[in-house]
């Protein structure tokens, strides 16, 4: 895999070379509201993608993730607010030549070979990636001449990923890209997504796998009920759930622990006491000073999953 990545990088250099709008956001949603009848899908949502970053859009079902992607792809228009991609309307044909998308598609034309699907999609773009590069990046070696309908679920996902790359886009949307893939295939795709980012491509992905967002994203945007409820690096998102968890046996009272700086919660779990604090080191130092009998000390970062649940809890 590293070999693939290097080979690809050298080949792609000339086209990826000049990048003028380096600091400008690649795509923005500004104060976007989207209604479907009486249902509010997005509520004054702001979102901005910077060049070269991988952003994960996280949220429970119905949070508005797919709606946001559809707006950015120009497949639907906002009720109010503005959508800009590369500084212009996403529905412009010129804008679309710089964007690639992998959407949740239940079935694509099954009686067409993988190679033929790539050939057709490449013809839509002015400067498509060479087929050999697409095949290598999406790991389609050996299945190019199979009909799409004969592929396994994971292989189908990789073909859809390949279709998103056909035009050598600067901005790629991946809607639940690893659904139906096994662990190994999923990690393979993660590596390829990182290669894209290293080439200066901007990636926006939605996912149900928190592990995936944690492993891939430079930035996570948590949305719920059409609004951004939290935004930051995976580490920041974890911290915003109330800090790290200190577990120990201590004689100190709950009242006293609660009064220590940055402590957000104190609870008992059997014999042990669990203290959640944003500055865990300071709290632990204080606890050790005050209680010489303190034992069984453990400090853990919350999993992203806990942070996510805490953020989207209503």
């Amino acid at each position: 895999m590293p070999l693939t990545a290097t080979a690809y990088e050298t080949e792609i250099q000339p086209t990826a070379g000049p990048r003028i709008e380096h600091r400008q956001p690649v795509a923005t949603l500004t104060g976007v509201t989207k209604r479907y009848g009486s249902a509010l899908a997005l509520d004054r949502l702001n979102l901005s993608l910077r060049p070269g970053e991988i952003v994960a859009l996280l949220g429970p079902n119905g949070a508005g993730k797919s709606t946001a992607i559809k707006l950015l792809l120009g497949l639907s228009s906002p009720t109010s607010g503005s959508v800009r991609v590369f500084g212009s309307d996403p529905r412009n044909a010129a804008t679309r030549t710089r964007v690639g998308a992998m959407l949740q598609v239940s079935r694509i034309t099954e009686m067409i070979k993988v190679r033929e699907h790539l050939d057709l999609f490449r013809s839509y773009y002015p400067r498509p990636l060479p087929v050999s590069d697409i095949v290598r990046i999406a790991q389609l070696q050996g299945i190019e001449d199979r009909l799409f309908g004969q592929l396994s679920g994971g292989q189908k996902q990789r073909v859809l990923f390949a279709l998103a790359l056909c035009g050598n886009p600067d901005l790629i949307f991946l809607d639940e890209p690893t659904v139906g893939m096994d662990i190994e295939a999923r990690r393979g795709l993660w590596a390829e997504i990182r290669v894209l980012s290293a080439l200066g491509k901007t990636v926006l992905l939605t996912t149900h796998y928190l592990e995936e967002a944690d492993a891939l994203a430079d930035r996570i945007i948590v949305i719920n009920k059409g609004r951004v409820i939290s935004e930051g690096t995976p580490a920041e998102i974890k911290r915003s759930s109330g800090g790290r968890r200190i577990r120990c046996h201590t004689a100190l009272s709950h009242e006293l622990l609660q009064s220590l700086p940055t402590v957000t919660s104190v609870e008992s779990s059997g014999e042990a006491t669990i203290v959640t604090a944003i500055h865990a080191e300071k709290v632990v130092r204080e606890m050790l000073l005050r209680d010489e009998t303190l034992s069984g000390l453990e400090i853990a970062s919350p999993a992203l999953e806990d942070a996510f649940l805490a953020l989207t809890k209503t």
């Binding site: 228009s77 959407l103 598609v105 239940s106 694509i108 034309t109 009686m111 057709l120």
Partner: protein
């Protein structure tokens, strides 16, 4: 194609998109056995059963095998247009495949062109096979100009019924599309006299024919052999064109309403 490439070296070559889109649509239909075998097989089977067996029958100067060639040619080309577009487009819509294509720079017109071109190609294949069978086994004699007019009308007819397929695809859910199409296609073919010459049917059934687009297409086809009814050709043409414009108009209204609700 080469001119376009020279004029716009960095932009997409849209002629190439139209060509590839049409080619793969045709290849897809050809490989989808349930489509290609049924749309070619049924008219061929029916024509052999009801047309070829009448190779020596004449009814007041009308050669029945030749008369029925016109009917089954229409039956075949209408079937391929309705199923190819009605079923194909509605399942592309339901699966989200069209949406993915639309997020790319592909012009929607290229997609519709490809569907229509594939329907025309299948129509031509079906009509050519039926004609070949008629000439070889049915004692049917066709002048080159008759053959030429038949193929021309096949192209026109395929486009007309492609517009009906388009409307069905926009209205009917994908899993119901084949059933609904059969429900429209089979009775309409029968009542228009595509299977059995209309004058052999009960009188009260014959009254339905003039309101059906299939009837007007079949009368235009029959008029090539001078077997048409007493209605003027202009009336048949007007009916067929009016029907097509109606289908396209309603389709465009529905499409734009869907677009706004997207």
């Amino acid at each position: 194609m080469s001119t376009a490439a020279i004029l716009h070296p960095t932009t997409t070559n849209s002629v190439r998109i139209y060509r590839k889109e049409a080619r793969y649509e045709f290849v897809k239909l050809l490989r989808t056995r349930s489509f290609s075998l049924a749309t070619i097989g049924f008219p061929v089977m029916f024509y052999v059963l009801f047309g070829i067996v009448n190779k020596h029958s004449y009814e007041g100067g009308v050669h029945i095998a030749k008369y029925m060639l016109a009917g089954y040619a229409c039956f075949g080309l209408i079937g391929s247009a309705l199923f190819g577009i009605g079923v194909g487009l509605s399942s592309d819509l339901a699966a989200g495949w069209l949406e993915l294509k639309r997020s790319s720079p592909m012009p929607v017109a290229a997609y519709l062109f490809a569907k229509c071109a594939a329907a025309v190609a299948f129509g031509l294949i079906i009509v050519s096979i039926l004609t070949l069978i008629g000439i070889s086994f049915g004692d049917v004699h066709l002048s080159p100009s008759e053959l030429f007019k038949m193929l021309g009308l096949t192209i026109v007819g395929s486009i007309c019924f492609a517009s009906m397929g388009l409307l069905i695809a926009l209205l009917v859910p994908a899993n119901a599309a084949p059933g609904i199409i059969n429900l429209i296609y089979l009775p309409m073919s029968y009542l228009s006299g595509l299977w059995v010459p209309i004058q052999f049917m009960p009188r009260w059934l014959q009254h339905f024919a003039p309101v059906l687009p299939t009837y007007h297409l079949s009368q235009l086809m029959l008029s090539i052999f001078h077997y048409g009814d007493s209605m003027s050709l202009i009336t048949h043409w007007n009916a067929l064109i009016g029907f097509t414009l109606l289908m396209l108009g309603i389709s465009s209204l529905i499409f734009h309403r869907k677009e706004q609700n997207a």
